[in-house]
């Protein structure tokens, strides 16, 4: 499987086009490296050093060279609230937003059933990246491969892109659900014990989702290019 359409977000991390949809989606959940670009720019006082300390207490930082199968989730930003993820999306620019449940599930199904790529490099995703981004993604992918090997899991694109064995990802709920946000995903059991089944639409709706920080909750963004055209 070679991904023809790749888009880079403002921090230089890749997004792929979801087959059958017009939006691009981050290839991995948002990393701390990406969010730190935003933190440097944020000036309203909410995202100060204290805020980041709280996030790091929930899920510590790790440098790319120290990533392995027992800590690769430390590379991602988690413990973030949905509204804060939206702030990051707004900072990224017009057309960026959190995924909707249907988009996340479509991506999962596509990668789970249709992908035969044996590595992210094979998809062509990494060729356009700067060295720092490429190194981080490559190290994470190696760690995920090891984790899959340890548990006897297959390592397809759905695992390599961490829709499985990654984080719970904030998504906006469509339809008549009274909540605005829910989590989709299946974190690695060593990061957060769980028996979630995202393939069956297992929406995780924590109590007080607007205010309680959970270590295993992160996010990835969608980018809708048609919104940019409308903006112009």
């Amino acid at each position: 499987m070679r991904l023809e359409a790749v888009h880079l977000d403002p921090t230089g991390f890749p997004m792929i086009r979801v087959p059958g949809a017009h939006v691009f989606v981050h290839c991995l959940p948002v990393t701390k490296v990406q969010f730190e670009h935003f933190l440097c720019d944020a000036t309203d006082g909410h995202f100060d050093a204290r805020w980041y300390d709280v996030a790091l207490r929930l899920n510590p930082r790790v440098s790319a060279r120290r990533i392995w199968r027992g800590n690769y989730w430390n590379a991602f930003l988690s413990g973030v609230l949905p509204a804060e993820a939206e702030r990051f999306a707004a900072w990224c620019g017009t057309g960026y937003r959190l995924l909707r449940t249907s988009e996340w599930e479509r991506l999962y199904r596509t990668l789970d059933m249709g992908s035969t790529a044996s590595s992210l490099a094979e998809t062509g995703l990494l060729s356009q990246l700067a060295p720092r981004q490429r190194e981080l993604i490559t190290q994470i992918e190696r760690a995920v491969e090891d984790a899959c090997e340890q548990s006897g899991d297959p390592c397809y694109l759905v695992e390599r892109m961490l829709l499985r064995l990654g984080l719970l990802e904030w998504v906006s709920i469509e339809g008549s659900n009274p909540s605005l946000w829910a989590g989709l995903g299946e974190p690695h059991p060593a990061f957060c014990g769980n028996l979630f089944v995202p393939a069956r639409g297992d929406l995780i709706q924590p109590a007080e989702e607007e205010s309680s920080r959970l270590a295993s909750f992160g996010f990835r963004l969608a980018f809708d290019p048609t919104m940019v055209q409308k903006d112009r």
């Binding site: 984790a147 340890q150 548990s151 006897g152 899991d153 719970l168 690695h188 059991p189 060593a190 957060c192 014990g193 769980n194 028996l195 979630f196 089944v197 995780i204 709706q205 924590p206 109590a207 007080e208 309680s212 920080r213 959970l214 295993s216």
Partner: protein, 351 residues
Amino acid sequence: MWKFLKKLFGIEDPPPPRRTTYHSSSSVSTWPSPPSPAPAPPPPPPSFSAPEPVPEPEPEPLWSSLELVSAPQHGKTSFLWALSFMARKLGLVWPEYVFWPQDDTTDESFRSMLRTMDHRELPAEATPSSQLRLSLRGMERWGDRRLFVEEGRDPVFGAVAEDGVSQREFNWGVPVCWLMSLPDLGTEDSQFVDLQLDNLIRTRMRSARSYEGEPLRLVVALSKADRIPNLPRELREYLKIDPLAAVVKAETALSEMGVEPDRPVLHFDSKAVQLYLETLWGVHETIADWLRTTLTGSLLARRADAHQISLRFCLISATGSDLRSNGHLAIPWRPRRVLDPLFWALELGCR
């Protein structure tokens, strides 16, 4: 004390050889409504490769009981809560099933536990000793039992009195469930589990019962299985896809829509129970095979063989996830496969 307990629990004539005193214990016990006949001879070992016809239910239920041992922090209280919760829900799958607390104290304890679970709370680290006495009537295959849940001292891993002798009396004549949380072993020492089994066997041998006459029947329940990182995929899938948990979830969804199910959502009839037990046997074998690939598991199996222990493995997750916020679960309790140790006890207890 026994007379008092008999009066308290409404037991009239338990079979003398199986008599036990549930005093300051930590146990999950089931026993039939009185009067009970003498135990039947042990059935042949199950052979699930070629399923046999379901045996006819015994005319009178057999004495059956399960004792529970666990090291601290291995999820014992959560398991007992989840087990009680799911035992209550069995009416959703068994049309003849009736469940009720046996006295006012139990009724209040049970309601309190349900309220606590409903608020997504977790047991406190030092949970005060509590008791639950429940009647379970009309279980397919096993008939009528009483489920006695008591939490207190543990004779193997728990507190020991100053004179070095455990305070509680323990019924070694019934299957023993050893709740073990692999993520909480807290050591890389491969011999640790083997030494714990040795400790358990020694405690058993110090009891008044003849070990040779009544070898240990041990159900090893791997607790907090949602947190085991290298759990084989098929076992993880087994936990995820729990038909009894799915029934509970369906009932909850119906209640939220204001619809009361007027009959069991899933009929857990004799064929379904037999199929469930076949799957349970397969899971036991898969866990045994998986554990044997490790030194820890090999040592455990070797010692169990040496002491002629009837060993059964199963795995459970009392909460279904470890998604916590401020000491509470962030999502509702989702117990998975917590009835499996009880099912094993009912099967092994028929011997």
